[in-house]
Symmetry: D3
Subunit: 166 residues, 6 copies
């Protein structure tokens, strides 16, 4: 019944469509957003734990700081989960799942870790969250035929992130 705009798009943007069946479709996916968000979660945990050991408990200033760290941690954990879900839902195609049969489980694990880091200030959970998203990033870049490396992030907590070699 409808004239297919998507067909016209297919002709114009064939290469992009071949590489990405996405939402717009726009083809701009980059796991770095999720990786930075996960790193921020660990940073907030460090600030929370450092603050909890101090003497300032029970004061307006203490509550002000701890509440802000928790809120930022919440937002970035959610952001990381959302970004991974978008790539998984929009970019990942059946052939990718065939090649990386554990991909669904990895994404589900990222969701669960993303909830765990919201529920606690447990740094190990934060490190696991970063690492799981790093693994997702490695698979993502591999599906695009782009090599990756690991390098320390240029900001605290300076954990290793997976970067594409451009």
């Amino acid at each position: 019944m409808f004239h297919s705009v998507l067909e016209a798009l297919d002709k114009k943007f064939h290469f992009a469509r071949a590489k990405a069946h996405c939402d717009i479709p726009c083809g701009i996916y980059d796991p770095i957003t999720a990786q930075i968000a996960a790193l921020t979660v660990v940073r907030m945990m460090d600030l929370m734990n450092g603050l909890a050991d101090s003497e300032e408990k029970g004061k307006a200033e203490y509550h002000n700081s701890i509440s802000r760290y928790i809120t930022v941690k919440e937002e970035h954990a959610e952001k990381a989960k959302h970004e991974v879900r978008v790539i998984w839902g929009d970019y990942i195609k059946p052939e990718h799942v065939e090649k990386y049969p554990d991909l669904h489980n990895l994404v589900n694990k990222i969701m669960k870790l993303g909830s765990k880091v919201r529920q606690t200030a447990d740094r190990q959970a934060g490190l696991d969250f970063v690492e799981a998203i790093n693994q997702f990033a490695e698979i993502f870049w591999a599906t695009k035929g782009i090599a990756t490396k690991r390098a320390k992030a240029p900001y605290a907590p300076n954990l290793e992130l997976v970067y594409p070699v451009l």
Copy 2:
């Protein structure tokens, strides 16, 4: 290092924890939100398609209506995807996946349909979206030992939705 608040919660809210490993954890999950959102997507498609056949094209009023339908469609497709992702990430546990081994694929399919209904006004895609989420709802209620029925929604487009028998 930290006294475990979660352990204390476990003792207080043992039953809830046994039934739901969730984000807060709060245990209030209900796929009806996603189902109503998916139904709204179909409703907006119907309004868009009805409008497109009219004579009013190219006027401010036409653009006003079609833009609003598209925006509402976008928001509800995204909302449905988000709600399903939360239940899948927070409530669904490995034993559920063992019992319903196609669950990961179903959720991934819902994400892809949720993107498709954003990209088009194709009613069939909308119907598929509603049905996939209905299937997800059936599995969800089954994991809680609650029977379900199908009944027509009490608002247009009056599609069948899965409801728990309470």
Copy 3:
């Protein structure tokens, strides 16, 4: 001055318009969203009060949990208020107010209770909030000629909610 798209809509969607003068107009209103949100408010109060009695005060983990409960409580109280406001502003017509002359007061009361449950962790206020929205739901379904029943919600705190009989 403008060709009326609404008139064309009127002809196409006469039944829906007759039953609902709404924002899009789309006709999909369902108080269940507000009811679940109000129930979540009570659930958060229970978690807050349970936590406050524990020994874990003053630690990062305690603040993490209590802050998250409060935030979720805030969001769901606001969500419930918003949903009721939309139905009241868009769906409710003068003839409904004639038939239920206390409706404006009930909605105003829901707004005030929605603010009260944000200001405190007082469970009774939460119960009053749920009950007021239940009463609103009963009136809503009555205006559509759909019978209702009361049943326990299938998740903690398992309060009675008003459901349409479909």
Copy 4:
């Protein structure tokens, strides 16, 4: 069961509580936000209608402009409704309703006008929306014992707004 923080607040902020039973409670309510938002709705209608008469229909640039006007109109209509709802739900007390018995109807009318200006580009509806909120502002300032005046807004469409005399 709980030590009442609100009681302590009552003692500290008695005057504010006497004048406003509000959400925080903070006492900072100002209808000017709703008034500016309603004015913006009319401004967007003017831009939409001006554009619709031009020759540029059907081009990317035309769609870009008209879509943006519609979105801004949507957002500001919603914002105006939200601000009025907050003042009505949090600040307005039973004694105000006794003194201004038509207040509930006025607020309900504002909600309905706020939906109508989203549904159309009909300038008269926009003017009615501004005027209804002006009337709400007059009542609001009267309850606080502050005189008001009407003056032209210092930006297009330069409609008269109600301002407190400070």
Copy 5:
């Protein structure tokens, strides 16, 4: 390559364009929104500091109140920053900067104060924030040739705000 809708707009809305190079362009800018938001920041600090001196620390109710004050403080500080950024980015033109050569520094200072009031409950920082935005408002109204006055805001903390003389 594109027919310029902006040119057509220029002809129709010449006066507005001459007075405001804005985002839509719509010409409705008003620093009062940022001023009220900054005032709210000080109000929240007052509530936080009043609460911190009370006996109720460590209880659910205390956390409920302090968390809410902090959240509202965060939101309004951010809102004030955003509103100032929009006027600075969209309305302010090079000739304004020539006439008020310290304008960029003032805006940058507002951003820094807006962050400082989020980081602390220090009332002086809040007062500085209000005053810096007042100065911005004075410049803004001066560029439009509209005189200003200072008057006490009609709500606590009743600080002086800059108002246009209409």
Copy 6:
């Protein structure tokens, strides 16, 4: 009056504070988010312009696509502006402005370009937006003593972005 939590933070996180006076303060700033957002703006313009030349004008599908491109363009232009504003307001210190005296003007220019790309589908404006943010990124990394390179982004429209050498 208040015990300074910030001082305690200073001792614990001295290095981070020395390098970044930020909002939390957290020290995680990365212009890549703004750069990807600006790139997305150009991508949407390309999709809009490609679509406008097609035959599908005036249909529901056409409106669906063009509306979505415009919305995504709006959101990403705003996101890029917001990210740059945060770095400029929270991270940039007076000594940076001394060393890069045109920095305020560059940021103001980015704000104006960010509004221009919202107002039009003019690709050149999009390219200017990307380039201005690239220049901002070069200054940012220089203040941290980290070298940069330029490389083509690994997704359409494959423009050159500034990357830190890690």
